[in-house]
Subunit: 440 residues, 4 copies
């Protein structure tokens, strides 16, 4: 939390793009049908061009709208571009080395769009009312809104079946997502921090099942469980903050459980070379994490793989036990408010969640065994990066006080969470946040 505040301050002092006269474009190069997106930061002195493309230095010459420049990567390979700008769009061609044969070069089409300039220097509050939704964490989908570190956004999510607050289907089933939001200044290798400021159901019911997912189902129960999987509707009593199953009678008569609204889906677009990823899937980019600590007041950290991060969110649950063992939790539509920050150069291996009391690293893999290993590595990485512990010290802390929780059992990935109470870190000498953790 403390760090999040520092980020906010850092952001106020130096919003991305405001300190320079650089033009900011997102350029895409067509690699035999697969686009690669990169931020082009372009400075002009007369007709001399300088700046960076995907972080690599460039130089060239530009006569108004017609530009020719060359970028050089860390290994010395050169990438030549010839483009024409037309308002907020550009197009042209690039000449690249053949990646498998240095003696050859290959031509690629180039397109691009200008990143809007920021309206005001202060953090903004945006309102975004979605009209369509994404069924994938898709790097190719046009941003629905451009925002800046420090900004907050109020918007809405459909339930996992695509149903809105009024009960009408507005998108295809399968966790349709609101977004993507383009976060100016978020670049591959950075970390995006998303603070869930507010998360409230906006209708009076949720839909669930009486299922037990395969990952939780031991063989003695399988035969009997064949009759499960039936729809179950719950009434959400928003005033009292509880949910009740509608199904009349039975032994659950009188059951009330506290609402604890959470976002099942929160993810950024995957990187170059990946196709759009189903909104039912998850990975290092976040996605359909279905973790019941993605709640109001907590911060989710995600690694960035595309310029602008391209943040998606959806699939909110009014409440959910660990693992979403019913396959559908209490699925409902939601009002959401979130803020964003960017941690420049802070490379994290997987999603992290920070609550007022705990650090949590989310490992996701094809088995719980592999997911737990990943989660442990994620928590160790956090302790090393932000608290300066060595591996031995991190190991001792984990042995004395780590907690492991299951995030999800309902997806292709299982999710396992390694947690550490912040109270265990309270007495330790503080590590000055490394300079790269500054919001700029």
């Amino acid at each position: 939390m403390r760090r999040y505040l520092l980020m906010l301050l850092g952001c106020l002092a130096a919003p991305f793009g405001s300190a320079s006269s650089a033009e900011h474009w997102v350029v895409d190069v067509d690699h035999w049908g697969s686009p690669e997106y990169q931020s082009l930061l372009l400075e002009r002195r007369g007709d001399a061009l300088s700046g960076t493309l995907g972080g690599d230095p460039l130089h060239g010459r530009g006569d108004g709208a017609d530009l020719a420049f060359e970028a050089t990567d860390a290994r010395g390979a050169t990438y030549r571009y010839r483009v024409r700008m037309d308002g907020d769009a550009l197009s042209g061609q690039a000449d690249f080395p053949d990646p498998n044969d240095p003696a050859r070069r290959a031509r690629h089409d180039v397109a691009g769009r200008r990143v809007p300039a920021r309206g005001a220097a202060v953090p903004q509050r945006h309102e975004y009312v979605p009209t369509d939704y994404a069924n994938a964490f898709d790097p190719h989908r046009a941003p629905v809104l451009t925002i800046w570190p420090g900004d907050t956004v109020r918007t809405r999510t459909l339930d996992s079946g695509g149903v809105d607050a009024g009960g009408a289907t507005r998108a295809l089933f399968g966790n349709p997502q609101t977004g993507p939001f383009f976060v100016v200044g978020a670049e591959p290798g950075d970390t995006l921090a998303v603070k869930i400021e507010r998360l409230r159901p906006n209708r009076a019911y949720a839909d669930s099942l009486d299922a037990i997912v395969g990952r939780a189902l031991a063989q003695p129960l399988v035969a009997e469980a064949a009759s499960l999987g039936r729809p179950r509707r719950w009434t959400l009593d928003l005033a009292r903050g509880v949910a009740r199953p509608d199904a009349g009678g039975g032994r659950l008569e009188g059951l009330e459980i506290p609402l604890r609204p959470m976002l099942g889906g929160l993810g950024v677009a995957p990187g170059f070379g990946f196709p759009p990823i189903s909104s039912g899937d998850s990975g290092r980019f976040g996605g359909n994490m279905d973790f019941n600590e993605v709640v109001e007041g907590n911060i989710v950290y995600l690694p960035v793989f595309q310029p602008g991060a391209l943040l998606y969110l959806g699939d909110a649950h009014a409440a959910q036990g660990d693992g979403e063992t019913t396959q559908y939790a209490l699925e409902t539509s939601m009002d959401v408010e979130f803020g964003v920050e960017v941690l420049k150069g802070a490379q994290i291996g997987m999603p992290r969640i920070e609550s007022p009391t705990h650090l949590m690293a989310l490992g996701q893999a094809g088995s719980l065994d592999d997911a737990l290993k990943a989660a442990t590595a994620g928590l160790v990485q956090w302790l090393r990066q932000d608290y300066g512990l060595d591996l031995s010290e991190a190991a001792q802390l984990l042995g004395a006080g780590a907690e492991y929780r299951v995030a999800t059992l309902a997806g292709r990935n299982a999710g396992m969470v390694a947690k550490l109470p912040k109270s265990m870190l309270a007495g330790l000498p503080r590590t000055p946040p490394p300079p790269t953790h500054d919001a700029r």
Copy 2:
């Protein structure tokens, strides 16, 4: 807890063995080198014998110390015994059907010992100072103490390395156990309830490692972790209830963690056909569960596989994170006080732990994936047996509020726990405890 109190009351009213004039023996039949133990409850009317052997009815004739009787099992097979009693011991021979060929019969040697009669009808408080220890959950080891449902026992455990309160080695490394305790009235098919009444370290240090166990170690950390596994001593400040690592300097300087003493080992003897099981292993019988909720105030339920259950305990930890990721937690010697109850005929599939706030079922298997399935099945079984829920209702409760925790990552079995807050059950209609759950 309520049920535990009911059990206590039930036990006061009808302690095992006191309501009848039956003699109680434990008889063992040698099956080609493997002993099978059964309770013999013997009634005499003149020289006519009746009663049960391992629950099967018997009848015969006995001329003082020389007895001949025949037991008949549920499938109608007959087992003939001819034994002589000599004080509190008996010996003789049995004639059994060949298990693989009904046309043949086979001879087996028989031995036995008399179960002591209870000194007093009221629950007793026993003090047991161990002089030797068991490195296995061993069905063949002679009981160190005979106790009755409702009794409590004060005793001690060594640390996992066999070291006592004074720092001297008193047993072989590998979680040497105190016990076994023979609980009169506990028979195969019953459930033993062990309430941890008091659990306190009795020395001022604990020994640990700075390791990360293989089950928690992702490949990127493996190379670096090769240097770990070094001994780390912690000071236990019993007055303030905290532990501090001794190793001077480093970033853990000033670290203090709260003591939360737990029993890593708590198990009963395995059933007929199993050899002694290493005190480092675990299973349906409990054993080296290494679960950090086996703490003062909680109740552990274990299925019974041998007459008298044969309860062992050891391997206490002053504190432990989930999973015992350091392979050795904060290992220390301990003063223990526990009470026992017997739930007659209450067949449970695996260990259960009950705290003031939660029901917990412990699944143990060769992978976390299988352990989680087992834990879920165990919690479902509990909800069905004691709360009368059907599978659909149990599924909905789990989906809305189950929690999953890791018990242990440090053994051959991984342990995973499915938990449910009792608060979720508070509003449900109560199931009258089935009559078989009576303490008799």
Copy 3:
């Protein structure tokens, strides 16, 4: 093999589409941004329309190019279309029930294309020289060729890095695929049989690594393996049918291994609701299976999820051990010839491979444990569907003679294969191939 021949004969007798005057279109309905493809088989009698859409019966009226019709699904829901045809394209609108609220209906855009009529009644041999490639098993990509059951195709594949026979990069890395091929008559619920008629490297080298993939790497080797993953080139001696590692010296000097060319990638497009799936991924649709029995002379069976199946192939290996433990096998470009058949209504749960000597079912999952279970289920399904065995009989065959092999360890899915020698089936009474297994 016998069955494959029967299919060929069946196909000659009744090629899809030739027996009727129906027009064949592929119609796509835009579900809030996600297209659903269905085959429209349309019959006209005057201006009365009949036929099927996605298998559901339709009726309507059509005045030349302007058509209005209504399809009804098995549950009685009605789907109304109003479209205009323009040459080989159509467009219009559909009116569908709201899937979550029967009282509402929703509008969707409709487009479509005409499936070409077959040029000749006899099976054809096609030659297809690819000019671009797909980096996903993509349901939305336009077919590169339309073919009919019984046809064969000669084409080429790039290596997994996108490099062609001449050493030039022609596509993005990551297993670029040749295709898709639209197989007329293949509909969701059918099975596509692909016979690999010929598979030969078309250049004299292959690229590999000296890696050990994570799924095969035990902890004691991890530290040392950190230095692995280096490129290794192999010379392919096509005349002698062997491969030799280029790397001079060392103990592998003189090593020669036999070529056994295989297709790592062979898959159909996933069904409605799925985004394009990375050409590095696999599933029930096949895909990047990396199984070293996808070789010349064997038949691969895949379930069909889209009209025309949309078959892709690529990522050929000159040779590969089980599991592709080096992450890259001997990657090279290849000349391929394959034939296709369609088994109408033969629902198979996962890919199957048939060799002259064995039946093989391929299970794929996030762990080997789950993959093996799936593979076993797949083999049991085969024995039941085609040999009429009941579960008990299948179990006994497996217990007496099943073999398990690893397909791949190199992907997100692990692949495990359950095999049965055909010799074990030779003495069994034959099941007449059920009528649905006919090629039409």
Copy 4:
């Protein structure tokens, strides 16, 4: 095979114990109830004693039967013994350092037995007719026969239910084992090579089930499989070498499968600190491996953990598919002939099997995923130890030609086998067998 022959020759030249005048005893020290066994090789010059105890040098003085000596381990700790010999037995006391506190020492009882001297220098053929059987791989069980490297033994095994060639039950169910055989010269750290010379059923039937074990059972089959698990008897036609299921009728009528007799159980005793291990369990020591390549003509290599290795064998199958998916394979009683060799100082991490055509390493763990990693490591270790390959070279061989097979799915451990054809190694420069691989 070549190496095995070399071993045989080595053995002929220098049988263990024949080259010196040392007395050979097995001494056991009681560590608080757990015996530790060590070989004592004792030389006397006058009343001066020298030699080794468990490999550590000793010196002392002995007046006939009363000896006092002191052994010193590699870290300089001293172990003092005072024993009296009485014929072929000895007894006494030892004074050891406290393992947890160097300032203390502890007393332990000592016993021992003399290892018989070899009758003749040439390899012997032993005949051993068992009269009782072991239901555990038990380090404490007295040897049934003492043998020497190069010797062969003819004996018999019961079926897994304890039934002999005549159909009578002779031991408790659960894979009763014949043995243990004490192999003179086999010491902890060595490798025992067991060549299966002959393995033939000695009765005309086998017992099996129609089950599918849990590890092979996918959820869609579970409900239906609940009715399985029924006994199935097979007729063994020993003359024709085939097995036929007895169960009349059904589609398996006419099924014949070839006999391929194998030993399901083959193991040595576990090391100090372990209790006896159930004959249904497996591990690095071998045990209930249930691998269908433990057949006539193959060699099994096992690591040695106790003086004399203490070899057990049992649970033979007339035939078995991979994985023993029926839980019981074709269980029958067997005539066995095996030879033994000792590879001094050749530390192997797990069981290995060598056939005329393949090297095979057997990984065993709680999941197939972990077992496969172990198997790969085992095969890599073999290639490094015996063929001098480095890790990169081994990785390339595996990638080009490794095969993975499932050993067992029926036990607590899953077993997975990594195989390499010897043909791939044929062209490689030979590694001179390291001197430690000599039979002495």
